[in-house]
Symmetry: C2
Subunit: 587 residues, 2 copies
């Protein structure tokens, strides 16, 4: 029976901030040594920040990282540090440095490079073709990075089968999406059981632009299952004593091992002389981390993602146009959760179509949230546009043209406040609207960050109700949740004038966008063909609007960001040209 | 001596328009047979249109293509057709179908899949691992696709070395960029000489969203050099009689062949029974195609790209805000070249800062171009904004806030015309401005298409002068070319108040953006360090604006489109937080 104490450094780092990142790494290392850890593992590309995207094409970005790595190495003593970084050699690699006693003992280079969804790793990285095993006083520890664990036949299996690894480390930067945490857990459990190795999974946390990282680092034992887990959505260093003593079992069941499936990837062995017998300080006993339900998970992801965007870009405050409707109410409420009420300003921008109900609801929302509420009427500006345009547009301004002008005046007013005070404008559109183009370019789409961009309307309601439940009172007034959705850009307007009911729209959108399902298959789910065709056509036709949308947080399998790369110009089946782009907009 | 008549079908097809694309292919095939061609070659992914991007993830898109391919095959008789298409098998491949006598004889699957710049091919395609050679009556013809030709050690060399190909086909969809055509030519010549094979290069033409395809298909003979070439920037079917009779020479110089460098890729041989002895109708003699200078090339790319975007998206007209400055003048003038004056409307949107000179120049431009000119004053709207905001912004509205409101009112007015009449708004910003963030979100950045997005300011002047030269008169008034650049958003404003002179700015931007050069290297080119650092910092900090910019045409090595994937949130070296994002915008 051998025993090793492992520290899982579930931290987040800022892209390009090498000095601060290195300090943070060293501070975790120091703390881990004090607590008797033999080994500390950091997330994928931890030193550079994740994902660095095209910064990886800048030589100085890579060199700064390499320099920071050398400096860290010099400050590491009697503890094994496994740290993710971008390695600049003849090619660039997504690597893990194994550091011990003042130097980098070796590196493992990621084998499986994801190039789907939001990932473009083959754009940047060369493929590693060696498995890597650390021999630490006779105990064998394999190293793998993120995607390596999701596929069979690669360096992870090879490290275990040919390299004899009994513990397998996985350094990850795995973006959050609804329900993905459970999939990760099941995968780790299966891998651990199949290969009879302990899996140590270290995920990063916090957020970067459109990606949220939810942590949830953990250790799976092939016989005992989950033996340690870190909280989600926040930084943590998790300590775990791993005991190895199932060797004989393993040898009796060779068919359970991956050996015969593995390709002939060479194994690099890094020997670290060590006698595994030291006494350790006792670890404090911690309770199991909080579990999250489906809606809670969304709530956590959205608040974390927003607070990180605000912090990283140095904003003091955010501003939200409050219409008295549910989207802007939830956006403001989540902003208050993320940043506190003193950092959120609401702006009510009434026109003559704005109802007394909207005013009352916006005002009661602001009161509940404890945020400042500014009122800027837009009627005069609208009138001046109408007058200016009357001279050139014979029939005067009406219909969607008039509606869009209103939305754009509101956008301009919010941007003026942003320009004047440096506030970040939060756009309030949801995924159902962005999908259907039920939104105005430069109008309600204006802003630096669209918090609900990947949240369907039906989920907007769920999160609002959860938020009220969490607070034990109606933070978001029930009147806002109960009223029928309206853009209030003309008298008596309702969303359902232009859109199918959300309980039909949202599942069809999900099947089409996230499921990549063809119309025929969606119809077989039980929806009317003409409804499905209408929805799909509108999604296709509104790509030009989405292309100019603000960034927002990915919380589903496929968001309208880096994982949605559609052409604007193409023949959308079943459409006629007049129906195409911009002409009379669809709202 | 064997002789074969090859047709190079330099055509463009529309993404997803399978019916029309198939008809176009068959019409070229029919024409080629009439002219006695043995073989007709189409561009890469010709049947689906290029680049299909995430449409390749839709099963129905792939199936429609496969169906269209089968229908085409049934209509092909005694001529070999080599056609690019997306092949749906267990995986998806970027393939060339070899069609003869009613059926698909075999397919070649692209080996080198580009995954850099604008290309994401490993996101979609599996890698082909067989070379492909057609044995056509004893004459051996290898098949390759685009990138295959740019690298050694792949299927192209293997087809020649192991498969004995004497003619090598290359199906391409190679996007235009400044000077790339010459690089292609030099490469083809070198490949042909090295391998002693005739290279038949077929490139697509026309444009798709941000990419322009410039054609320039050609045939290189290892001894005679360029033996046929198609025009650039327009569709064409080029015929070329290729004579093969240098075999003995080849055998004497084995070291000149690729054989020993090739990996062990298997060669697939497609046998087509044929006796190569038929009499052929005589080919008409054509003069050499037009050659283009550097600026002419840009002019052709911009006009072609715009006319294609307008056609594909079904617009009747475009609208341009004319300020009396050079960018809007060139945008309007190029639109007239691309679409004709009756399809272009100019809008003059004066404020009280607008000079009499600007009015006179805008009006004389519109007259020269023969386009309608509308005037919409923005002073009243601006006043109403100021009044509405006065209540909430204590010190009143001034500075960049006031400037941005003006720009946004202009954007709104143009969008109102777009909404009312279905016109496409052309944004007028150039690459120097987009780089530096010297532009207003939702203001002068508003529009469906930014024609000059990838054209530096210094090139804007060059193209303007070229256009006047081409017409033999000042289409763009000399006064517009001569005046000092100004945004006219406050009294006496000049670009040089906020930017380094363009003759310094543009080469620094080019080195940084296209050359990926670090600051130190740019300084060594002879620029002042503080100037370079100032420029680079502003490029980095303005990513948030570019992320919401309209699409525009790529004409350089690296445009702000699919080939620029920068994070918004990262530590820009040498900046302080207050300077970051949106706060007081930089203009």
């Amino acid at each position: 029976m051998k025993r090793i104490r492992v520290a899982l450094a579930q931290i987040g780092t800022d892209i390009g901030d090498f000095e601060v990142n290195a300090k943070k790494v060293l501070s975790c290392v120091k703390n881990a040594r004090l607590k008797g850890a033999d080994l500390i593992v950091f997330p994928e590309l931890c030193l550079n920040g994740y994902p660095p995207e095209d910064l990886l094409l800048k030589p100085e970005f890579l060199e700064s990282g390499m320099k920071a790595l050398r400096e860290i190495a010099q400050n590491v003593g009697d503890i094994v540090v496994v740290l993710g970084f971008a390695e600049k050699e003849v090619d660039i690699f997504n690597s893990a440095a194994v550091i011990f006693d003042g130097k980098v003992t070796g590196t493992y280079r990621k084998h499986f490079l994801p190039n789907y969804g939001v990932f473009d790793e083959r754009r940047y990285f060369g493929r590693g073709i060696r498995a890597c095993v650390i021999d630490y006083g006779g105990l064998r520890i394999g190293v793998g990075i993120c995607e390596d664990i999701w596929h069979t036949g690669g360096t992870t299996e090879r490290a275990i089968a040919a390299g004899g690894a009994e513990i397998m480390l996985n350094l990850s930067a795995s973006p959050f999406e609804r329900g993905k945490h459970e999939r990760r857990r099941r995968l780790l459990e299966a891998r651990s059981v199949d290969s009879k190795a302990v899996f140590v999974y270290v995920n990063t946390v916090r957020a970067q632009d459109e990606l949220v990282f939810d942590g949830g680092s953990c250790v799976y034992h092939p016989e005992k299952g989950l033996i340690a887990s870190a909280p989600r959505f926040k930084e943590d260093v998790l300590f775990c004593d791993v005991e190895i003593g199932f060797d004989s079992q393993k040898l009796l069941e060779p068919t359970h091992r991956y050996a015969e499936y593995s390709p002939a990837l060479p194994v690099q062995l890094l020997r670290i002389e060590k006698i595994l017998d030291g006494e350790k300080p006792e670890l404090e006993v911690r309770g199991a981390p909080v579990q999250y339900g489906a809606v809670e998970e969304l709530y956590e992801a959205l608040t974390l993602g927003l607070s990180e965007y605000v912090r990283k870009n140095g904003f003091e405050k955010v501003v939200v146009g409050l219409s008295g409707g549910i989207d802007s109410a939830l956006t403001a409420a989540l902003a208050v959760e993320a940043l506190g009420p003193e950092k959120v300003t609401g702006v009510f921008l009434p026109s003559k179509y704005t109802s007394a109900l909207s005013r009352a609801l916006a005002s009661s929302l602001a009161e509940n949230l404890g945020i400042e509420l500014i009122e800027i009427p837009i009627e005069d500006a609208l009138e001046s546009y109408r007058k200016s345009l009357e001279g050139v547009v014979e029939e005067g301004i009406s219909g969607t043209t008039d509606e869009n002008i209103q939305a754009r005046i509101r956008g301009n007013m919010l941007m003026a406040l942003s320009n004047r005070y440096g506030w970040l404008v939060l756009a309030t559109g949801n995924k159902s609207e962005f999908s259907m183009g039920y939104c105005t370019l430069y109008g309600d789409m204006a802003g630096g960050f669209a918090l609900l961009k990947d949240v369907f309307k039906t989920q907007v309601y769920e999160i609002a109700r959860y938020l009220n439940y969490k607070h034990g009172k109606d933070v978001i007034p029930e009147g806002i949740i109960e009223r029928e959705p309206t853009a209030e850009l003309r008298p008596g307007q309702l969303d359902t004038d232009s859109l199918p009911p959300y309980f039909i729209l949202d599942p069809v959108l999900e099947a089409y966008i996230e499921g990549c399902m063809p119309v025929d298959e969606i119809v077989r789910m039980g929806y009317d063909r003409s409804v499905v065709e209408g929805i799909v056509t509108r999604v296709d036709l509104n790509e030009y609007k989405r292309r100019q949308a603000p960034v927002g947080l990915k919380v589903t399998k496929r968001a309208f960001g880096r994982d949605w790369r559609m052409p604007i110009s193409y023949l959308v089946p079943g459409t006629i040209l007049e129906f195409l782009i911009s002409g009379e907009e669809l709202r």
